[in-house]
Amino acid sequence: MNSPRQVLRSGWKWAVQTARLCCGVPDYDVYVKHLREHHPERAVPSYEEFFRERQVARYRGTGGRCC
């Protein structure tokens, strides 16, 4: 069984990931892992660079937002 501490930690991780995704910022660790595995030749952006790129990308296409 999971200890309460682990449950809290995974719950927090879930909350952070959801909150970021709601703002159009996908999980940075997942992206870095993806880059390392599939595109080792590309430079890994810092979280700050990654964040800026995503921030601009969010408001480009059709609006991801409802009435």
């Binding site: 995704l21 709601c22 996908p26 997942v30 993806h34 880059l35 937002r65």
Partner: protein, 691 residues
């Protein structure tokens, strides 16, 4: 039918579901049948939860297994095209949270509040059954179709399955719908802030707060969204608290005291600036704040309803089902179904369900929870809004939502008029409510937001008493709605600008460049002009604006839902699953009938734009002035506005007829073909894709 061979339910499972069904039926019976004595809101909430749980377990599963035939062994676009950015296999609860945050907006909060004029029962029934059989089916099916098509958008799917012309027609419809959405939402803000220095001050404060947040995120602590949102929230709460001092101050209050026209111009100017500025400065930080505040406030509302367990003071059914209501005009059919809009079925969701969500699902088996379940959550928000409105004193409800043409502008005249309708209320009760919430007047604040805010304030006040707390909660609720509406206005103007630039690019290529300042400013001005026109028209409307614009919005939104459901119907036939064609087909037909009937009644007959235009034209000819017009020019403007609304209604009706014709053509062609013709991506086993 790979999933149809489901395991038969265990005896314990059968007993559990039977128990839920009995409890649900009992609660629903109490809600629907008990007359004469007021019932507690908990009955309604319990009935809703039971209906949603049963709908999810049985109908949602039926759509999943039989109609969409989703297959957990099939690889999703997120797995196949994983790029770590847009296509990312994501935990299902994270996708659910993201999807819900994207579909939840002001719509499900406003529509049910307006619909409460007919009593809480008609609205409740439509939200419950509408969402199970139409709204959630639409969201889920569009999501299901999109996962099988590389996460393609609604427009692309329409083009692929129906043909290029219907694709373009539908996208044009989306652009017009968006302009109406922006205008009507902005009008909700105008209605809430008219002559409310406290409200206007706090909403104005969101601009410098967002700028501070933007700068913080850009230079000081890049990417720390949580940190900056907490800072923003604290500043917001401080601005609400300080707002009282502004409202009480003889020097500061006039600076934030505006009439509807001035507020409309301010919003138009704001919308222009906000969508031209770089996103990181104003739009993005405000978006973060509004997203978190929205989820937090919905949770707060749920908590308040459960703890306060209010009694529903509004009757189950009022006499206004005959179409003579002051809040919106028209009979129960079709206008109840048009007015509630987003809470029961919302066309806009089909854009979200074919946007980011299908690119995040790690497994087809999770689509039901996200698509169907997400929409049930949205309907639950609508039920809560209805409860908040129905737990108000009916006299207060009608005072807040009726236009001044009917109830006058003083507490005395309003109380007299409303008491005559059968909802006895004294001027003192109206004045006391206004005083409690820290406002000068509560009269004619249609648009849902203020009513919901008073309802929420009373609920929260029951739990956390305190002399001045009610005014604080009221302004908190107003601020939260205004905040996410303004975010929608910014983002929507930006999207509208890109769409217009794309269209303009067809005529003059350089206008297409989104980086070019000429193209940018020009397209933004056109976009703001389009929704600004309708906003201003709403601000000067004789019936208060919402009365006129909300039906237009409802018709447009349900029109888009009908288009999405027609796409689903055609695809079901193309997949040669004709025996299930009724699943999307019946709600599609229902929505077509509702929108066309509502459209027709808005074109001809006593409640039509035509009748209003004629009335003002006739009066102008006779040289008499009808309120609120003060000059002959204003009379002429009202006539013109009504003609524009007529043209728009006609356009929506034409759109839906054209789309129905194209859908029928595609459907018949597919019916007579003896093999599947849908444009699905080929099957790839999940197990064959490297993890």
């Amino acid at each position: 039918m790979q999933n149809a061979a489901a395991v038969p339910p265990s005896p314990a499972g059968k007993i559990l579901w039977a128990a839920i069904a009995i409890v649900g039926a009992w609660c629903l019976g109490v809600v629907a049948l008990r007359r004469g004595e007021p019932i507690n809101a908990i009955w309604l909430v319990a009935a809703a939860i039971a209906v949603f749980v049963i709908g999810y377990r049985f109908y949602g599963k039926f759509v999943n297994d039989r109609v969409l035939q989703l297959d957990p062994s099939r690889a999703t676009p997120a797995v196949l095209r994983n790029d770590g950015l847009d296509y990312v296999p994501t935990d299902k609860w994270v996708v659910f949270g993201h999807h819900f945050a994207a579909i939840a907006g002001a719509g499900p909060l406003v529509g049910p509040v307006l619909a409460a004029q007919m009593g809480y029962l008609p609205g409740t029934l439509w939200i419950l059954f509408g969402v199970v059989f139409a709204g959630a089916v639409q969201d889920f099916m569009i999501l299901g179709l999109s996962i099988r098509r590389d996460g393609r958008s609604l427009g692309n799917m329409l083009r692929d399955e129906l043909g290029p012309v219907p694709g373009v027609v539908a996208m044009f419809g989306v652009l017009v719908l968006m302009m109406i959405v922006l205008a009507v939402l902005a009008l909700v803000v105008v209605k809430a802030l008219t002559h409310s220095p406290w409200g206007t001050f706090t909403v104005a404060c969101t601009i410098p707060i967002a700028l501070v947040m933007g700068a913080y995120l850009r230079w000081f602590r890049p990417g720390r969204i949580l940190e900056v949102s907490i800072i923003g929230l604290v500043l917001l709460l401080a601005s609400i608290a300080y707002g009282k001092n502004v409202a009480d101050s003889a020097t500061l209050a006039p600076l934030f005291d505006f009439d509807a026209k001035a507020l409309a111009w301010l919003l138009i100017a704001y919308g222009f600036c906000a969508s031209v500025l770089p996103v990181w400065l104003l739009l993005a930080p405000r978006d973060y704040l509004s997203t978190f505040l929205k989820i937090g406030t919905i949770a707060l509302l749920a908590l308040a309803i459960f703890l306060a367990a209010p009694t529903l003071q509004l009757p189950a059914v009022t006499k206004f089902i005959d179409g003579t209501g002051p809040v919106f005009q028209g009979n129960l059919f079709p206008f109840l179904f048009i007015t509630i809009a987003c809470g029961a079925v919302s066309g806009w969701h089909s854009i979200i369900a074919s946007g980011t969500t299908p690119k995040l699902l790690a497994n087809e088996g999770q689509a039901r929870m996200v698509g169907y379940g997400g929409m049930l959550m949205e309907a639950f928000v609508a039920i809560m809004a209805l409860v908040a409105a129905a737990s108000l004193h009916p006299g207060v409800y009608f005072a807040m939502n009726s236009p001044s043409a009917l109830i006058g502008t003083t507490a005395q005249s309003a109380a007299t008029a409303i008491s005559q309708w059968g909802f006895v209320v004294t001027p003192d009760e109206l004045l006391k409510t206004a005083k409690d919430i820290g406002e000068g007047s509560i009269l004619s604040r249609a648009g849902g937001a203020p009513t919901l805010a008073v309802g929420m304030a009373q609920l929260l006040h029951n739990i956390i008493p305190g002399a001045s707390m009610m005014a604080f909660w009221y302004h908190y609720a107003i601020l939260f709605e205004a905040l996410f509406i303004l975010t929608t206005v910014d983002a929507g103007t930006r999207v509208g600008r890109f769409m217009i630039q794309e269209i303009a690019g067809l005529i003059h290529k350089p206008l297409q460049h989104t980086e070019s300042w000429t193209g940018n400013l020009l397209a933004t001005a056109i976009c703001v002009g389009l929704w600004g026109y309708f906003l201003y028209q709403g601000a000067v409307d004789p019936l208060g604006g919402i009365n006129t614009l909300w039906p237009l919005f409802g018709i447009a939104n349900q029109m888009l839902a009908a288009i999405a459901l027609m796409l689903a119907t055609v695809v079901v036939v193309k997949l040669k699953r004709e025996r299930y064609v009724w699943v999307p087909g019946v709600p599609a037909i229902w929505l077509i009938v509702c929108t066309l009937t509502a459209g027709w009644e808005k074109l001809s007959g006593p409640i039509s734009f035509t009748a209003a235009a004629r009335k003002y034209a006739q009066a102008a000819q006779d040289g008499t002035l009808l309120a609120p017009a003060k000059t002959v020019e204003e009379m002429q403007r009202i006539v013109t506005n009504n003609y524009v609304d007529m043209a728009l209604t006609g356009l929506f009706m034409l759109l839906i007829v054209v789309m129905t014709a194209f859908s029928l053509r595609a459907l018949l062609r597919a019916w007579h073909t003896n093999h599947p013709t849908a444009q699905e991506e080929p099957y790839v086993a999940l197990s064959s894709v490297a993890r």
